[in-house]
Symmetry: none
Subunit: 96 residues, 4 copies
DNA sequence: GTGGTCTAGACCACG
DNA sequence: GTGGTCTAGACCACG
C-alpha cells in the first residue's frame, strides 16, 4: 500500500497508524496474534523503521498492541471503545 | 560568499537564487547530486534559514532542484530552457 | 555531564530522563520556563537528537514538560506527586 | 565464502573468527576502519547473527576490534602480539 | 532557530 | 530474527 508523502498530507506515521488501526479493528490482524514484523511493514509501506515504530508507539499508547523483544508485536484484546467504533462506522459509511 | 544587504540591492533571497542558479548551470552542483544542506548555505552566505528556503522555493519553481525530506535537495536534469540560456550568456559576457 | 554508555547500564535516554527529572524537581529548570533546546542538550550530554527526544517523550508522558513547535520546551506546573517525592528523597539520602 | 559445517570441523563461529582475524592481520580490514556490518557477514558466510556475534565477541576479547552502538565495528590498532604473529607465520608457511 | 518528521543503517538484548 | 537503542544528518512547519 502506498502512503501519501506530499506536503499538506498527514505525516507518514499518522497515515500508517490509521491503516494499522483499521486492520486491527477489522480483524485483519486478530487479537492475540502477532503483527507483521517491523521489517515487513517497512517494505510493505516503503517507509523507514523509525516511521513504523512511531506509528506503533501510538498504537501502544492506544492500548491496541504490545511489543515483546525477541518475540514480536501482538494485538491486544479489544475492549469496547466507543470513540474507535464511531470512527470505524464513519469509515465504513464513507466507502459506500 | 558575502551577499549585499544594503538598500538599493535585490533582496537577499533573490541574490542567493542567482548564485545557486549559476552554480547549477556551471556544473558546480552537478545533475543528480545533492546540494549543500540548508544549514551549510545559511553559514556560507550568512543568511537566515527563511532566506535560504525562499531562494530554494524559487529554484523548485524553476524546476532546477527537488527537495526530499530526510534525504536532501538534489539538482534536477537540465532541459533546454531558453530563458536560462540567455541569462547564462549574459553572465559570461559580463565576465569578459 | 557524562552519561555511562557501557553495557550493563541503563539506556542513555533513561539516564538522561533521570537527570532532567531531578533538575526539574530541584528547580534548576523552573516551572513555566523553557528547557535548554534539544541542540543544547545534545551537546551537553554528548548524545544524538533522537536520544534527547526519547528522554523528553517520557517526560511529556510524566506530564513534567510540554513541547511547542517554534517556541521550545517548557516545564509544566508541578502537582504534588508522591511517587516522585519519594524518589527525590531517596536521591538526597543517598548523597549524604 | 563458504564455511564447513560438517562434523569434525571446528565450530562455525571459530572458523569465522579465523577468517576475520586473518583479514585483519592481512590488512583486508584496515586499522581504524569499520568492519562489514553483522548483516553483511551473515550473508557473506551464510551463518546466523548469533554466530557472527560469537566470532566478534572473541575478536573483542583478543583486542582486535571494538563495537560502538549506532556506529559500527572498528579495527583496533595492532600491538605486537606474539601469539598472533605465530599464527600468521603458520598461515604464510601453509600457503607455500 | 525551535520542535516535528524522516531516512539509512549500525550494534544490543532477548528468544 | 524480533524488538530496543543509538548515530548522523537531512528537510518541514511554525514562530
Amino acid at each position: 500500500m502506498k502512503l501519501q508523502s506530499q506536503s499538506g498530507e498527514k505525516p507518514l506515521w499518522s497515515q500508517l497508524y490509521d491503516v494499522l488501526e483499521s486492520r486491527i479493528l477489522n480483524g485483519v490482524y486478530k487479537e492475540g496474534e502477532v503483527l507483521p514484523s517491523e521489517m515487513s511493514l517497512m517494505e510493505e509501506f516503503g517507509v523507514s523503521r523509525v516511521t513504523v515504530r512511531q506509528a506503533m508507539d501510538k498504537l501502544i499508547h492506544s492500548k491496541l498492541i504490545s511489543r515483546k523483544r525477541g518475540k514480536g508485536t501482538i494485538v491486544l484484546k479489544k475492549k469496547v471503545q466507543w470513540k474507535l467504533c464511531f470512527n470505524l462506522l464513519l469509515m465504513v459509511l464513507k466507502k459506500k
